[in-house]
Structure formats: C-alpha cells, structure tokens
Symmetry: C2
Subunit: 237 residues, 2 copies
C-alpha cells in the first residue's frame, strides 16, 4: 500500500465511522505535508549513493545514470517524508490536527527510509517511461535480517511493493500482492528488481516483477501486483 489511495478513504471512513484513536478526515483542510514535515526533510533525496553502498550497487547505479543521459531512463528521487509531488497526488487527504499533536505520529516517516545509512533499505529506482517498466537496485542491510545471514521475506515483500508501485505513476493503492519466494536473499547483497506494467483495465493496473542477483543468474522471487488508480472525481466529493 505504498501509494495507498487516501482519496478513496473519504468514502470508506465516512461509511464505517472513525474508530477511537484512528486518523480521521478533517474539514480543516490542512495538508499532511505541512503537518508532518519540514522543508529541509522533504527535499533530501535518499536515492543517491552513500558510503554504505557496495561496489556492486555503485557500479549498477553508474550504469543506469549513463542510460539517463539520453532521456530514455530517469532516476526517481525518494524522500523520507511526504514530497511535494506526493502531497499534490494526495492533496485530498487531510489529518485531524489533534491527532498529529500526538508525539508518536509527529515522528512519522516513510518505512523504508527510517534507517541509518546502510542498516536498512538502500535502493534507487530507474524508470523507462516508454517501455512502462522500472529497475530497482536494492541492498538490504543488517537490520533487515530474517534467518541468520538472510534477508527477511517481509523486507523483500516491502521492496516488491515499492518496485511495482514505481511502474504506476500518480496516486494508486495496492489491492493485491502475490509473491513467489524462490530462493532466500543473502543479507547485505544487492538484488535487481525488474518491474513492468502488463495491463491497464480502467483504473486497474496489473503489474509483475522478478528479483534477481546482479549477475542475473539467480532468480530470488517473482511477483504480481494489482494496483488501483485513484478516482479524482470521487476523491473530491
């Protein structure tokens, strides 16, 4: 649900009522970005090399940056908190200011960017708009461990959700993720997630991806995803 449909929530939550302690939609119309972030935090792009990146990751990054030079590929930036673009995408979603006063929620940040450099999710996504596909380079750090020495399946599922979502563009929500884990991923190694948009039916986007080793010889996982585009008409009602 990386890019979950906040717009659609208006009707969902209006129908079911607000549970005690849960965020509700507010008529105060204060954008979440303003409530959650400082400009400084918003503008730091985390999809760039840092000293924790392995040789493999840096090498692949450089190769894809070269592909960006003719405009066929683009590197997607990544922010710890809500970016200006995301705020725009989800501009119909607003939080109750009282709730945001809660200390815990005021600390909120994007799941995959909450780790110190190298300990968690190190990744960058490149997009080829013409071919409707993306390539995600991912190095899973030592805080993402499952069985000793191996990446946790939940961390892999998280990156698959993000990689598939990067193929969609705009505001969408994940409706289904179906993941086949073929081989466990060694901790601190680099994997390449190739994702593509297979089919578009109305607001439904059907996507798929595979996760391979850098040398492409090892297939770690395969997955499909169904994402739903937000309906701007509904979101403003």
């Amino acid at each position: 649900m990386l890019r979950s449909c906040t717009a659609g929530l208006r009707s969902i939550w209006a129908l079911r009522g607000r549970r005690e302690g849960a965020p509700r939609l507010s008529m105060d119309l204060q954008p979440a970005r303003r409530l959650f972030s400082t400009e400084k935090v918003i503008h730091k792009d985390w999809a760039l090399p840092n000293p924790s990146w392995s040789k493999d990751l840096k090498l692949l990054f450089d190769q894809f940056m070269k592909k960006c030079e003719d405009g066929s590929w683009e590197r997607l930036p990544s922010y710890k908190r809500t970016s200006t673009q995301e705020s725009e995408d989800f501009k119909t979603y607003f939080l109750d200011p009282k709730l945001v006063e809660e200390e815990r929620l005021s600390q909120a940040q994007l799941f995959t960017r909450g780790f110190e450099d190298g300990l968690g999710f190190e990744y960058v996504i490149f997009k080829n708009n013409d071919e409707k596909r993306t390539v995600c380079l991912f190095q899973g750090g030592p805080y993402l461990q499952g069985v000793p020495g191996l990446l946790h399946g939940g961390a892999m599922a998280t990156m698959i959700d993000i990689a598939l979502g990067s193929c969609t563009g705009g505001a969408v929500m994940t409706a289904n993720l179906n993941i086949n884990f073929k081989r466990p991923v060694p901790l601190c190694s680099v994997v390449v997630i190739n994702s593509q948009l297979d089919k578009l039916e109305g607001r439904k986007l059907f996507l798929s991806c595979n996760v391979r080793s850098v040398d492409e010889k090892t297939l770690y996982s395969e997955a499909t995803g169904l994402f739903i585009k937000l309906d701007p008409e509904k979101s403003s009602t």
Copy 2:
C-alpha cells in the same frame, strides 16, 4: 521468508555456486547463533508490554494472557537475534566466518525487532496448538508509515508473513504469500491478525489469515501463504 529453509540452501547453493560477497556454507561448522549473538541479547523476550503499548494493545494482551492460564493458549516469545530454539531448528546452516567479520553483518538483527520501543513493530503472538491457529496483536509505529497517517503495505506484509509462519511450528520457509489489501491501516493503531493452518500436504503447509480492527468491524487484509517444511534428511547431506 521469516523461517526460510537454511537447510535446503545447502543443495541450492552447492548447485549454483557462491556469488562474490554472498554468504556461503562452510565446513567450519560454526553455528550462526554463536557468531551473531551474545547470550544477553538472545534471551531478552520482546513480546511483552512496554510503555509504548496503547491501551488497546495492553487490554488485548491481558485478555489473551488469561486464556493462557488453562494451557489452551500460549504466548510465543520473540527475540531480536537467533534464539536457542531457532538455532536448533536451523543447526545445519553455518556462515563463512570471514564474512561475519564484516562490520555490517556483525550488526545483523531480526527485521521486526530492530526499532526502538514504539517506533516500529510492536507485537505479540498467542498460539492455540489444538486448534492450529494463532492470534497476533500488532501495533505499527510511526517509522512504518506509507502514505501520511497510514501503515506501509510492506509493514503489513511483513507482519502477515510472521503471523502465518507462527502457525507452522519448526523450521519452514515461505514459498508464497498472496495478500489482498482491503483497507489501509491507520498508523499507530492496533490490529489483530487471526491465522490458521488450513491444510497439510506432505511438507507443504497451506495457511490463511485475516487482519481486523480491535472491534473486529473493519477487515483490513486477507492473505494466504504456502510454507515448506524443511526436510531434516536432506539438510544433513
């Protein structure tokens, strides 16, 4: 892949050879537990209340602890690093000592227990062995955010993997996860994951779960999982 089959890796990795920088199986037979952990860390049980737990979570915890009194239910402990039991389950898996010398791998810890109290995954699992089912009480902290105010789908997928895995017992690996996201989960709220073993076919375990609000009125997600039991015969060859 929470409980991924390290035993089975022997043959997988033997067949495909070891990639540069990836863990390999060693003949030195040094158990991962000894390499990765101190006794002190191993023995701290994280599936117990701490000050970050909300009223909802504490209340549910107390209710299930009461159910444990007659022995029909049991609370499953949870460790940041490999527990003695897990080491036993995965005793055929050993890491290259040279690799463990790397600073990053020496920092390795369980993905879901690497956050400070209240910021990440707060959860406890109760198991009913007779009914082959578990109940996971989960509060997702502010560092697990997706869209502002909502839990990241990857964090939900991670907890679903863990919850399903808790129904299996012993050493298994996740082969498939199929998750339908019905409603986004408000950040810092508590959800209840009911998991059950539906079918056992040889070494294949078919499981399912649903994720609901505390009052059971909201269905957030439904999922199925296929887990594979390790084959002790194969693992020792």
